[in-house]
C-alpha cells in the first residue's frame, strides 16, 4: 500500500520547517553569547556589575598616609567610626591627594545628625545632646576634637 501525503500537509510541513529554521537562526544571533552560562541571565553581566568605579576608598587607604589620625582616633570613643563616615567619599582624594581635597564638615547640624537627642536611639549607643540647650551658639569643634571627642580644647 502506497503511503499518501496530501499536498496541503506537505506545504504546511514546509512552512513549519522554514519558520523553525528562521527562528533558530534569529535566536542564534539575538541571544547574547554568555546567556545561560550560570543561569537564566547573561553571564557577562556579572563582570558588568563589578565594573563601576568606587567612591569610598575604605579606611585602610586613609591610614596609609594619616597614621597620626589613626593613633589619635584609637584612643577615644570615635575609634570604631570609619573616616569616610564624616569626611565623605575619599577615593578621588586618595588618587589625587594634592588637588582633590577631602570634606571637613563642621557645625552643630553636622555633629547633630548623630548626636541630636531622639527617643529612637539607645542611650548606651550614643551620647545625645539637646541642641537647644547645650552651649547654644557655639560650634562643637570649639571644645571637642572630632577625632578625640573627650580630649577637650581649652
Amino acid at each position: 500500500m502506497k503511503f499518501y501525503i496530501p499536498p496541503q500537509i506537505t506545504r504546511l510541513a514546509l512552512a513549519f520547517a522554514i519558520f523553525i529554521t528562521l527562528f533558530l537562526v534569529l535566536r542564534h544571533f539575538l541571544v547574547p553569547k554568555t546567556f545561560g552560562e550560570y543561569g537564566h541571565y547573561r553571564g557577562a553581566s556579572l563582570i558588568d556589575n563589578a565594573q563601576p568605579e568606587i567612591h569610598y576608598a575604605g579606611q585602610q587607604a586613609c591610614f596609609k598616609c594619616h597614621q597620626d589620625i589613626e593613633d589619635k582616633k584609637a584612643q577615644d570613643v570615635h575609634s570604631e567610626i570609619h573616616c569616610e563616615t564624616c569626611h565623605g567619599p575619599g577615593e578621588k582624594h586618595v588618587v589625587l591627594s594634592k588637588t582633590e581635597k577631602i570634606l571637613k564638615p563642621a557645625g552643630r547640624e553636622f555633629c547633630g545628625s548623630c548626636h541630636v537627642i531622639n527617643a529612637g536611639k539607645q542611650k548606651s549607643m550614643i551620647n545625645q545632646i539637646d541642641l537647644n540647650k547645650h552651649n547654644i551658639g557655639k560650634n562643637c569643634i570649639e571644645c571637642h576634637n572630632p577625632h578625640q571627642p573627650w580630649e577637650m580644647k581649652k
Binding site: H55, T85, G120
Partner: protein
C-alpha cells in the same frame, strides 16, 4: 459448614493482602512524590548555595545599634550614583514610634538621609526605634522570577543583581518586590536596586553603607563559612527576617525586630 468457613478465611486473607498492597503503593508513591517536591523546593525551602567555592552572602542589621543618622543612605547614593533627588533609595531608614495609646507612627523624611527629628513628644512614646531597610537578597526572590527577559538574577554569590544592558524597564520587578526595594533609575531608566556594592565586594572592600555606619549596626558575611562573624552573630542572637510568610528566602536578618515592622 466447614467449607464455607474456609472460603471466608480465604476471602479475609485476600482483602488484607489488597489492603497491604494499597497502603504500600500509596506510601511508596507519597515518598517518591515528597522527595521530588523537596528536591525542587516546592514543599520545604532551604537556601543552598550553588557554587561550593564562592561565598554565599547574607546580612545582619542590628536594630538596637541603629541611631538613625542616615549615613548609610547618603553613602549608598554617593557610591552608586543614584541622584539625591528625586527620592529613590537603595537603602533607607525608617523610624517606628509606638505610642502609649498603641498606635504606630512611621516616618522616613527623605529616607532618613539627613537624620531624624523626633516627631512625637517623649511623654507619649511607648517605644521608638530605627529600622534600616535595603534589598533582602532573597534566595527565592519574587523579583527575579517575574523578569520577562532574564535581566535580573541571583549571582552565584547569592547577590541579586540587575543586568542594566538587558533590562527593558518594564517595572514588573518593582511591583513584585514585597519589600519595596526596587525603583526605576531616574537617569538610566532601567530598574535599579542594592547590589550589596558588588563592585566593592569584588575589590575586597565593604559595602558603602557598612563602611560608613558609625555604630556597626550593619554586617555582611559568608553564610557558608561557619566561622564567619556573621554566622557567629546568627548563632548567638535571635534574628528574624521581614515577611517570613512570603517564603522569599530572605538573607537579611534583623536582630531585635519588633512585630510592628512591616
Amino acid at each position: 459448614m466447614s467449607q464455607s468457613t474456609s472460603t471466608m478465611g480465604n476471602e479475609k486473607i485476600n482483602t488484607s493482602r489488597r489492603k497491604f498492597l494499597k497502603t504500600a503503593v500509596t506510601l511508596a508513591g507519597a515518598t517518591i512524590g515528597y522527595t521530588w517536591l523537596k528536591s525542587s523546593q516546592i514543599l520545604l525551602f532551604a537556601a543552598k548555595p550553588k557554587d561550593e567555592n564562592l561565598p554565599w552572602y547574607g546580612l545582619v542589621i542590628d536594630i538596637q545599634k541603629c541611631i538613625g543618622c542616615g549615613n548609610c543612605a547618603k553613602a549608598c547614593k554617593n557610591e552608586n550614583d543614584v541622584p539625591i533627588e528625586p527620592f529613590f533609595f537603595r537603602t533607607w531608614v525608617e523610624q517606628y514610634t509606638v505610642k502609649n495609646d498603641g498606635s504606630v507612627n512611621i516616618v522616613s523624611p527623605n529616607g532618613g538621609i539627613n537624620g531624624f527629628e523626633q516627631t512625637v513628644p517623649t511623654e507619649d512614646i511607648f517605644k521608638s526605634f530605627f529600622v534600616p531597610k535595603m534589598c533582602n537578597h532573597c534566595s527565592k526572590s519574587p523579583c527575579t522570577q517575574v523578569c520577562p527577559v532574564g535581566a535580573t538574577f541571583e549571582s552565584p554569590e547569592g547577590v541579586v543583581l540587575i543586568d542594566e544592558k538587558y533590562c527593558i524597564g518594564c517595572r514588573y520587578c518593582v511591583q513584585a518586590c514585597p519589600y519595596g526595594c526596587r525603583f526605576i533609575h531616574p537617569v538610566k531608566k532601567v530598574a535599579n536596586k542594592c547590589t550589596l556594592c558588588y563592585h566593592r565586594l569584588k575589590k575586597g572592600l565593604e559595602p558603602a553603607c557598612m563602611e560608613t555606619c558609625p555604630t556597626g549596626a550593619r554586617m555582611y558575611g559568608n553564610l557558608r563559612d561557619k566561622n564567619s562573624d556573621l554566622v557567629k552573630f546568627l548563632k548567638e542572637h535571635t534574628t528574624l527576617v521581614l515577611r517570613p510568610h512570603l517564603n522569599t528566602g530572605s538573607k537579611l536578618y534583623y536582630n531585635g525586630l519588633s512585630s510592628e515592622v512591616r
